[in-house]
């Protein structure tokens, strides 16, 4: 063995793999369970995009806050939200992260700095600005990140937030998860100038584009951007070019995709396969260790589903709790 060629320690690499594998299995399981009709509401799956959320979140602590999107499961898991609480929430059960009253698009856990997934496209960016302003006042070097898809980056809220973050020099980072489709609209059609870095430049913010399917590229670039923000260097934008393995939502027939496109991206742009190949060929982690993690994660997900199914539904009385108005 020639030592560890990566800037991350072996423990960090194992953690990265475990996180990515947990997200993948969580989403694959939801794909099956939603298809069976077990899950209420809508789910939008993060499978294929794991390297971005994982590579970024590994630099964060619980005091750093993130504002997620409708496709938020991966962000939650990478930010440390309990998968049992997540599964219960998605199943709409008591004991869920939001007591089963929010569902997939409203999972939050403030103790982990996860301000919430969000069903409103582009709504997370102003929230991240608020969290970043608070962090700036606290002065502990904490930061806030807004995740946004390529489609939502056309929303006024997103563009206004870039401006606000620049004007107030906030420790806010805007991550554009560019998976190529705004729901079913190709970015070629729906985005006037197909460069999110150019948009950031319009507000005087630096921007970087990375291959979002490459954990190592994301981790390095995100590390520099986050470190800069912690030191008062201000906001920046990180564009992660990535792919999603499922439709915009579960049930999406994906007629907008090219023939063979899904097979191609699963074969050539699977971030987990790329990561596994890199660490095993470098001799840092052997295939058996990865398989052991696969087995453990599978059991974790199975247990989460079991617990979610066994948990009770919220009652009518629960409707009036956890709200701002006292009844």
């Amino acid at each position: 063995m020639a030592g560890n060629p990566f800037p991350q320690s072996k423990e960090q690499l194992l953690q990265a793999y475990r996180t990515m594998r947990t997200i993948r299995d969580f989403e694959e399981r939801l794909h099956v369970d939603f298809g069976r009709g077990d899950i209420p509401g809508f789910v939008h799956l993060y499978a294929g995009e794991e390297a971005a959320g994982t590579g970024i979140m590994m630099h964060l602590g619980d005091g750093d806050r993130i504002a997620s999107t409708h496709r938020g499961h991966g962000h939650c898991i990478a930010k440390g939200v309990d998968v049992v609480a997540m599964m219960k929430e998605i199943y709409g059960r008591k004991g869920g992260a939001c007591e089963g009253k929010g569902g997939s698009m409203h999972i939050a856990d403030l103790s982990k700095g996860m301000m919430g997934a969000n069903g409103i496209l582009g709504a997370g960016a102003p929230l991240a600005c608020g969290a970043a302003l608070a962090a700036k006042f606290r002065g502990k070097g904490e930061i806030a990140i807004s995740f946004v898809g390529d489609g939502a980056s056309n929303q006024g809220t997103f563009l206004e937030s870039l401006n606000l973050a620049a004007v107030w020099n906030l420790p806010a980072i805007f991550v554009v998860e560019n998976n190529g489709y705004a729901e079913s609209t190709s970015r070629d059609y729906g985005v006037a100038v197909d460069s999110y870095v150019d948009r950031a430049a319009g507000f005087g913010l630096p921007g970087v584009t990375v291959d979002g399917t490459d954990f190592f590229a994301v981790h390095e670039a995100a590390g520099e951007i986050i470190q800069r923000a912690r030191k008062g260097g201000g906001p920046a934008l990180l564009e992660c070019k990535m792919v999603r393995f499922f439709g915009h939502f579960e049930g999406d027939a994906q007629t907008y995709r090219g023939s063979g496109e899904l097979d191609d991206i699963r074969s050539h742009q699977d971030c987990l396969k790329k990561f596994s190949a890199a660490v095993t060929s470098a001799g840092v982690i052997d295939a058996a260790s990865l398989k052991a993690i696969d087995k453990e994660v599978l059991a974790v997900i199975e247990n989460a589903v079991k617990q979610a199914k066994a948990a009770p539904q919220p009652t009518a009385a629960d409707l009036t709790t956890d709200v701002y108005v006292s009844y």
Binding site: A2, F6, V191, D194, A217, E224
Partner: protein, 348 residues
């Protein structure tokens, strides 16, 4: 044959981490398209009738087509996009170079930085080293493509492509550094750098861009310009070597700065002027391989970490002369002036 040129415009050059760590610039897509249009208009004015363009999914094609849809622009040659599916990776540049070579274009105009130019050259040296390129600079550390108004580059390429200036007057030969990594099993990997092949202590390519002097081990240069920005500046400020001069330059950095022969202050990236500990340097003689001393690390080619190597693998660097050609815009315009190529007689 209808005077035809090719164009490879990279929509993602100048997007890397150096925007964060070094205040490097960002040429916006709209400006890249304006550059393409200016170059094409000038090429057409000098005789080019047809242009074959690499398609992309980064915005250049979309904006160009929007421009073309606004109405017939008589100032442009006929524009066609190559029949290929963009992958938004460097493979697009390789594929487009092959297609342009097969299509028989007179020259390939390249819009991008050193990395984009390297990708085109890497493909050309395999297939058709005689097909010249002409560079339009849009990258970060541009040592290879010179800063020049695209209109002038377009005119020079147009005059050459239309047969109004012959190859002997229009083209310049260039050197490159050939990198070869040979494993214990005898299997080899080959690649090229058109400016600098840099050996680093980094053991993975990560975010690819290179900006930390602490990670540098050695620099192998096809040419070394004291005015260059980037890692080739290290050689340029020690012992300049012209683009057309014989040989190259190899610089070994000191692994322990306390035991360096000297510390050189060099602009290793835009805005990053850093002390670089130098151990020694030597000229590279054409076709004589130099063996890399570092046991394991990565080789960065023209500014981007590309090739990782491990203990037991041998890395050699070989300077090759007359490896590829560019359209020399300055010389073409001088010839045009001397020969009156752009004078139009007034009918008496």
């Amino acid at each position: 044959m209808t005077p035809t040129i090719g164009l490879i415009a990279n929509p993602v050059s100048a997007r890397d981490i150096r925007r964060i760590v070094a205040n490097a610039g960002n040429l916006q897509i709209t400006d890249r398209v304006n550059i393409v249009l200016r170059m094409l208009q000038a090429a057409h004015a000098c005789g080019v009738q047809r242009a074959l363009l690499m398609p992309d999914r980064g915005g250049i094609r979309a904006l160009l087509e929007r421009h073309l849809r606004r109405g017939h622009d008589a100032s442009l040659p006929a524009i066609e996009f190559l029949d290929m599916e963009p992958t938004s990776t460097v493979d697009d540049t390789f594929a487009a170079t092959r297609l342009l070579q097969r299509a028989g274009v007179a020259a390939i105009v390249v819009l991008g930085g050193d990395g984009t130019h390297r990708a085109v050259v890497r493909e050309l040296v395999e297939a058709d080293p005689g097909l010249p390129i002409a560079g339009l600079s849009t990258g970060t550390n541009n040592a290879f493509p010179e800063m020049r108004e695209p209109t002038i580059t377009g005119m020079a390429v147009g005059l050459y492509a239309a047969g109004r200036i012959d190859a002997a007057d229009a083209l310049l030969p260039h050197k490159l550094v050939e990198v070869q990594i040979t494993g214990a099993d005898g299997r080899t990997r080959r690649d090229v750098a058109i400016v600098d092949a840099v050996v680093t202590h980094d053991r993975s390519v990560g975010a690819r861009a290179l900006w930390k002097t602490s990670s540098l081990d050695a620099v192998y240069l096809a040419f070394a310009d004291p005015q260059a920005i980037g890692l080739s500046a290290i050689g340029g400020l020690l012992q300049p070597v012209g683009r057309q001069a014989a040989g190259g330059l190899a610089v070994q950095l000191a692994s322990d700065p306390a035991h360096a022969l000297l510390h050189l202050t060099a602009p290793i990236a835009p805005g990053l002027v850093r002390p670089v500990p130098i151990a020694h340097w030597q000229r590279m003689v054409a076709d004589e391989p130099l063996t890399v001393q570092l046991a394991a690390g990565t080789v960065a080619l023209d500014g981007e970490r590309e090739l990782a190597f491990e203990t037991g693998q041998t890395v050699t660097m070989t300077l090759r002369e007359n490896a590829f050609f560019t359209v020399d815009a300055a010389r073409c315009m001088a010839v045009a002036a001397q020969q009156g190529l752009l004078r139009v007689p007034v009918p008496s």
